[in-house]
């Protein structure tokens, strides 16, 4: 424990180095702005910021993106509460009690509850993250390739079976991602796979191209089809924040605790990010809370539950990312991409080889949570003015950043063509309800899954039963298969009744 605290202390020292602190501040402001703008999702914002980190050192680059991720779970609540416009899907539950409280003339109080919930949820989850990361990494160090394959398989299985609106569509999306990852020259045999004689495809399709195209450009095409609806705003001048007193906060301590715990647990599950956490936490409060009958009428519990869960899901999602290299959400998939771009593979080894970077990132989450609340307290009224920017102008710049991001990665114009292709694919996925996150996770985790699968096959004489006969991998594989089979079984049972 002392060892962890010492590493965390060193991490804090790193965070307060000028370059890292500047990156953290920029990340926080960008994250807050992205969360406020309805046309820009949190994941899209993190994707767009990625190319700006290419020339940075890995620590400030990851700190910037992580700060954006943390701040992105908070500021969208402001517009939900003040204008009945959720900045992010995460913030839809804020419409129900947050806006209702604002309509009663207590907007400042509603913003205060949001701030306190983000602070409590964020700090508690960061503490849990630091406490669990090292032990989980130690366990992961004992794993061999069958266990690694089982973990990746579980990650991919839970992405499709827990978060997706349609299991079939999520599976197809995942397969598409896994397939895109196979394009290029195979490492072991040097065989060309799906290159069709196109020279640039021999180098493979960069996951960055898929992320930028599908998340960034695809979303712009969706908004364009909807004619870039602009939102009529009331005055933002009254957007001040009034914090709840300690006695008021203590009265809803159970909600803080439930929201935080649920957020961390949901964050741990690959594919179920802050949005699921926020909705579920609200749902749990509405079903089991002390004042469940009053939910929706503008009570603090209806604000605290979704906000604590949303912000605490960040800490939860960072645990599988840092300890096993498995992203728990769209944003962590991009942070994983940033790590890989800087030549660092998150996983148990990283706790040995790049301990300082890991704990600097952990420490930055504590600082980011506090920093975001300080900025939110003093600057919410100014930051919400960004909503007055016409969405079409923001979107034009989003496209420009997408193109620049794709080009800057490999200085190759073919990548730019590919992001247009993936932009259209992203649009079609949205249009026909194929989730994008499984595809992106498939592209990122596909090579890792294939390598571990093939290595296991070579090591164990092509005996595929090894995945099920080794105790740890067998248990994980069975759980993974159950997560896929359970929704199908439930659906069949529902249909039968």
């Amino acid at each position: 424990m002392m060892e962890v605290l010492q590493a965390l202390g060193v991490g804090f020292v790193h965070v307060f180095a000028p370059a890292n602190l500047a990156a953290l501040f920029v990340g926080l402001v960008l994250g807050l702005l992205v969360a406020v703008l309805p046309g820009l999702t949190l994941v899209m914002g993190v994707v767009l910021a990625l190319p700006f980190t290419y020339s940075m050192h890995v620590t400030p680059a990851i700190i910037l993106l992580t700060a954006m991720y943390v701040a992105g779970t908070y500021a969208g609540a402001w517009t939900s509460i003040l204008f009945h416009v959720p900045g992010e899907p995460i913030d839809v539950p804020m419409l129900w009690d947050g806006h209702a409280m604002a309509r009663k003339g207590e907007a400042a109080k509603a913003l205060g509850w949001t701030l306190s919930a983000a602070l409590v949820g964020g700090l508690a989850a960061a503490t849990v993250m630091v406490a669990l990361a090292q032990p989980v990494a130690r366990i992961a160090l004992t794993f061999s390739t069958p266990e690694y394959f089982a973990i990746i398989f579980f990650g991919l299985a839970s992405v499709v079976s827990l978060g997706g609106a349609s299991l079939a569509n999520a599976l197809i999306s995942l397969c598409a991602g896994l397939l895109v990852a196979t394009v290029g020259v195979d490492d072991t045999y040097g065989a060309h796979r799906f290159t069709f004689g196109v020279p640039i495809l021999s180098d493979g399709i960069d996951y960055l191209v898929v992320m930028v195209g599908a998340f960034g450009l695809g979303e712009v095409f969706v908004r364009m089809e909807q004619r870039f609806r602009s939102i009529p705003l009331q005055s933002a001048g009254e957007a001040s924040t009034r914090l709840p007193s300690l006695r008021e906060a203590a009265a809803v301590k159970g909600t803080y605790a439930r929201g935080t715990l649920l957020g961390i647990l949901i964050g741990l599950v690959p594919g179920a990010g802050a949005t699921v956490a926020s909705f579920l936490s609200y749902g749990v409060e509405a079903q089991y809370g002390r004042r469940k009958a009053l939910m929706g009428s503008g009570i603090p519990e209806g604000i605290v539950a979704p906000q604590t869960a949303a912000t605490s899901s960040v800490g939860g999602a960072m645990i599988p990312l840092m300890t096993m290299g498995i992203p728990g959400s769209g944003a962590t998939a991009i942070i994983l991409g940033a790590f890989l771009l800087h030549g660092l593979q998150p996983g148990p080894q990283v706790f040995e080889t790049s301990r300082e970077i890991v704990y600097a990132v952990f420490a930055s989450i504590f600082v980011a949570v506090i920093g975001m609340c300080v900025i939110g307290y003093f600057a919410a009224r100014y930051l919400v003015r960004v909503l007055e920017l016409p969405e079409v102008i923001v979107s034009a710049y989003v496209v420009m950043c997408c193109i620049l991001g794709a080009f800057a990665a490999r200085n190759n114009i073919t990548d730019v063509w590919l992001i247009v292709v993936f932009g259209v694919i992203g649009y079609l996925c949205e249009r026909f309800r194929f989730p994008i996150t499984p595809m992106v996770l498939g592209v990122i985790l596909g090579p890792l899954a294939e390598t571990n699968f093939m290595t296991t096959m070579i090591s164990f004489g092509n005996d595929w039963t090894v995945f099920f006969t080794r105790p740890i991998s067998g248990t994980i594989m069975v759980i993974a298969l159950l997560t896929i089979v359970y929704p199908i079984f439930r659906q069949l049972r529902k249909r039968a009744t």
Partner: protein
Amino acid sequence: MRRALVRVLPYALVGSLAAWLFYAATQIDFHRRPGTLGPDVWPKLVLGLMLAICVYEVVRVLVSPQWRGGAAGVLQEMVERTEQAHPDAAEPAAPKSLPLLLGGIALTAAYVWLIQRLGFVLATAPYVFAFIALGGYRRWLVNAATSVVGTLAMMFFFMKVVYVSLPIGAEPFAQVTIALMRLMGIR
């Protein structure tokens, strides 16, 4: 029946593509080592799964067209249940414009084509202007200023700060970009 066919279409298309790619995977050229799996195994596994899901969905929709939803994610269902309890918060469906979408895609494709010939600056500023105008924004002066200033700012940031060499285009357009670079102190 027509509705069922429309619902089947995406799966039929994806399934056909998967079948064709499966065939392509059988043609992967490599020197097989005895007793080991080749580079075609993993893609074939993925494509086989994809094909099976597509066939299942096509059959499911055609056999029982009135059965709308398939199995959904457990957490997603809980989220939807919470959302359904608050129908007032649901966003009204936005009117859609296919011409605008197709215009946007065509404009973006044209931009990528032009960027190689005109260079980043000369292609981006008109693209941003055209994109904003296409999106229905009619304050021309603001649009023009936003397009030009934004493009130059991005060029400065990427070429001077991040050291990314953006396309300068073919002659004679390259000379314009080079002159601008000199003016902005970019080497």
